[in-house]
Amino acid sequence: MSLTRRFVLAAGAAALPLAACSDNKGAGGAGKLTLLNVSYDPTRELYEDINKAFLAGWKGAPLDIKQSHGGSGKQARAVIDGLQADVVTLALAADIDELATRARLLPANWQSRLPDNSTPYTSTIIFLVRKGNPKGIRDWADLIKPGIGVVTPNPKTSGGARWAYLAAYGHGLKQGGEAGGRDYIAKLFKNVPVLDTGARGATTTFAKNGIGDVLLSWENEAYLTLDEFGPNFDIVYPSSSVLAEPPVALVDANVDRHKTRAAAEAYLNFLYTPQAQEIIARHHFRPRDAAVAAKYAADFRALPLSTIADFGGWAAAQKAHFADGGLFDQIYKPA
């Protein structure tokens, strides 16, 4: 690299903050809009397909859709810190609530703006075990036996982990009320050797790195693991679990700044169409659309599911269990 070229680059760098403002809107040339979908971990493959289908039917101005994935809580934190999400599609409502309360990026009533509590699909938490289930893991009671390694991500940063935690706590509640729930959770996390920040990291820990005997997994993530690693794993449905509702929302402050409100609204509404619901079902998420759900009924086992309402809603559950000093902090001691 010649000396002159270096000086040009250095001069360019000095003007950097000025140049940077163009890099969202001007990404693909004049007039092209970019939607940024900030999502949680296991939806990478889902939204790749959704984006293709949506763009194929999109009649408006040229549009590009970008994705960012990570643990749900971590992603919410990034949006609060200024990641310019036009839409957020996170693992649970509490993380989107944070965007409303901490940074006022969207109104507090965001969840009532779209059908079904703004959750176009549901999912649940099930077990993934090694082929042939060598440790004989059938239900929640088996997870707290001595010598069982349970892999689940960190409930502080991962939405899936919070649903898994609530499913486990719900099991304890049924056994012995609040004391039973607390007791069960404490025993369960004694068997957790490592906490990854997101669901995908936990899946990698379990499936690729061979750590643990059972993975507390999103149902969709468990099936995806079977697709990827085939015969090395078995899925085990516990006797009960939790109805996980991963919501979607428009980030008002950002779409107004980017002038992308119309496109973002259309994108979120598209998730409720039969076409998108089919894609959702094919990726092993449980569709809301009755007709699509009926068509794929064989793929989704029915089991008793507690809902977030059983735990007092997300605001209460977040405070009681996951906030600083909550139950999780009280029972979890890293090994």
Binding site: L9, G12, N24, E45, K66, G70, G82, R200, E228
Partner: protein, 286 residues
């Protein structure tokens, strides 16, 4: 990198048995720790054949990651080169108060975790940060965009050039510059005609190391990236994304580029040490 060869003449001695064992052990450890992983990277990358490997590198997200990595290095490395020369010049040729403080500050990035090097920019320029609201009001993006990645990289690679130059320039002293100045040369001419030729190989050496680290940095850029695919993922971040997507070939193909960069750096470094060991010797004693 510090004690590869010595500029003093080698004294030939017969190695006793213990020394032979030590040499054998270190060769084995090197093979296990460096050659084996290197082999695995290329093996996994080429597992499904060369066409698949090339296809993985032609993915739009991969190309964007390569471009971004080059762009970030192209900004961060020259800036650090300029800064490194200036700092080394000031420290080695002049006496002033606070010199040791400046030296400590230059070394700071070596001792703080890259996560912190990333997080400080979030605290400054994030939406909730010190300048966050002002940046938003003026539609400027720093964090989760190229400027944030550049800032994080600059901070992490800050010491490389300066650290390479300071010992050499201290050893050379200020006599030649003083002579040039007495003969009537201007400050800039003195720098260009006297100082720069004396330090050019050490400077190149420092730039090489700085560049290797700038392109390979993961922790600090991960914090400020926002992980937007095809927009703010640098090559190391792209490797992680693909690995987590179960795309082994893609992940290791991208990793092989980084490994290749490492090898090129190593070769250039060796050539430099071999051809210009005299002009580097002071630098390699720290």
């Amino acid at each position: 990198m510090t004690a590869a060869t010595s500029s003093e003449p080698m004294v030939r001695v017969r190695l006793p048995g213990v020394a032979l064992v030590m040499v054998a052990v270190s060769v084995l450890v090197m093979a296990g720790l460096i050659l084996l992983p290197l082999y695995v990277v290329f093996h996994e990358a080429l597992l499904k054949g060369l066409p698949q490997y090339l296809e993985a590198l032609k993915e739009p997200d991969a190309i964007s990651a390569i471009r971004l990595t080059l762009l970030v290095a192209a900004i961060a490395v020259p800036l650090n080169a300029v800064f490194g020369v200036a700092a080394a010049w000031a420290i080695s040729k002049f006496e002033f108060r606070g010199k040791s403080v400046l030296l400590t500050l230059i070394d700071l990035p070596f001792s703080i975790s890259p996560v912190v090097s990333g997080l400080v920019w979030v605290l400054l320029f994030g939406a909730q940060g010190l300048f966050g609201q002002w940046l938003l009001d003026h539609d400027l993006k720093v964090i989760f965009a190229v400027p944030g990645l550049v800032l994080a990289t600059i901070l992490v690679t800050f010491p490389f050039v300066a650290r390479e130059l300071i010992p050499l320039m201290q050893q050379q002293g200020a006599d030649e510059e003083a002579a040039a100045l007495t003969l009537g040369a201007s400050g800039f001419t003195t720098f260009r005609r006297v100082t720069l030729p004396n330090i050019r190989w050490a400077l190149l050496y420092g730039v090489l190391l700085c560049n290797a680290r700038a392109m390979g940095e993961f922790g600090a850029v991960s914090v400020v990236s926002g992980h937007i695919r095809g927009l703010t993922n640098t090559l190391p971040l792209h490797v992680e994304v693909l690995y987590n997507d179960y795309d082994s070939v893609g992940a290791f193909a991208a990793a092989s580029l980084l490994a290749g960069l490492g090898i090129v750096t190593l070769v250039l470094k060796t050539v430099l040490e071999w051809r210009h060991s005299g002009e580097l010797s002071a630098g390699r004693k720290h």
